[in-house]
């Protein structure tokens, strides 16, 4: 089990990633440190494509929770796209879905990020 983190793009207010693999107790610190490097004081939206995440356990949830709290304090948000049924179930169990902005496809999320970029410029 491993996790690959693909940094799709960053703008002044957004960080966009795609995760591939398992977000478990061994790999979650990798995501935590990547986000710590990429998130700046100006970041308001962290967008994560979950389409290739095979599973997420509480260690992965903690990283998402931490990022969500960080963004909410700034009036920002965490967006996710292409969650599998199994991954979505885990988020539902811990009742965090209402706090997330969820997109069915990467195209929808890209459109949303593009709109933020238009506002930035």
């Amino acid at each position: 089990m491993s996790l690959t983190i693909d940094h799709l793009q960053s703008t002044a207010e957004t960080v966009s990633l795609a995760l591939i693999g398992a977000l478990d107790s061994e790999t979650a610190p990798q995501l935590d440190s990547t986000l710590a490097e990429l998130i700046t004081p100006e970041t308001r939206v962290v967008a994560i494509n979950m389409g290739a995440v095979t599973f997420i356990s509480s260690a992965g949830l903690r990283v998402i929770f931490k990022t969500l709290k960080q963004m909410k304090v700034r009036g920002g948000q965490v967006s996710m796209s292409q969650m599998s049924k199994g991954v979505r179930k885990v988020f539902e169990i811990v009742k965090v879905m209402p706090d997330l902005t969820v997109f069915a496809s990467q195209d929808e999320m890209d459109e949303y990020l593009a709109e933020i970029q238009r506002r930035e410029s």
Partner: protein
């Protein structure tokens, strides 16, 4: 299949062994058993072993035609996890603590749980039907 896990075993090796042991089980069951195993591993590595590095612990996993049984044993002080598994805080994320999600996941993803403590050994048995 019986997995005997020691503190030196990596999570990824144990999860790979879990995947192999669950071949033939529905994907959803295998996926949720992996989460349960990861929660056990994380609990031992981050909460138990730092205080008791020489502790013995064993993880057993058995698949039958209709269910998966995951049995987890470790020696040490009594710790009944079941009271901590019952509820999830529903407050907004800003007001919630980050920890405590592992036991909730184990409870929510399992169909049966049994805890026993005898002769200085904690034993937690999880069953998942399919």
């Amino acid at each position: 299949m019986k997995l005997t896990v020691s503190p030196d075993d990596s999570v990824s090796d144990v999860l790979s062994a879990t995947t192999t042991a669950l071949v033939g089980a529905p994907d959803e069951v295998a996926h949720e058993c992996q989460i349960i195993v990861d929660e056990f591993m994380a609990n031992m590595k981050f909460h138990v072993l730092p205080h008791a590095p020489d502790i013995n612990w064993v993880l057993e996993l058995d698949k039958s035609d209709s269910d998966v049984t995951i049995k987890f044993r470790y020696s040490g002080e009594k710790f009944d996890p079941t009271p901590a598994t019952t509820s999830v805080n529903q407050r907004p994320i800003e007001q919630r603590e980050i920890g405590g999600l592992g036991l909730v996941l184990i409870s929510s993803l399992s169909d049966e749980q049994h805890y026993h403590y005898h002769d200085g050994v904690n034993e937690w048995t999880i069953k998942k039907h399919f």
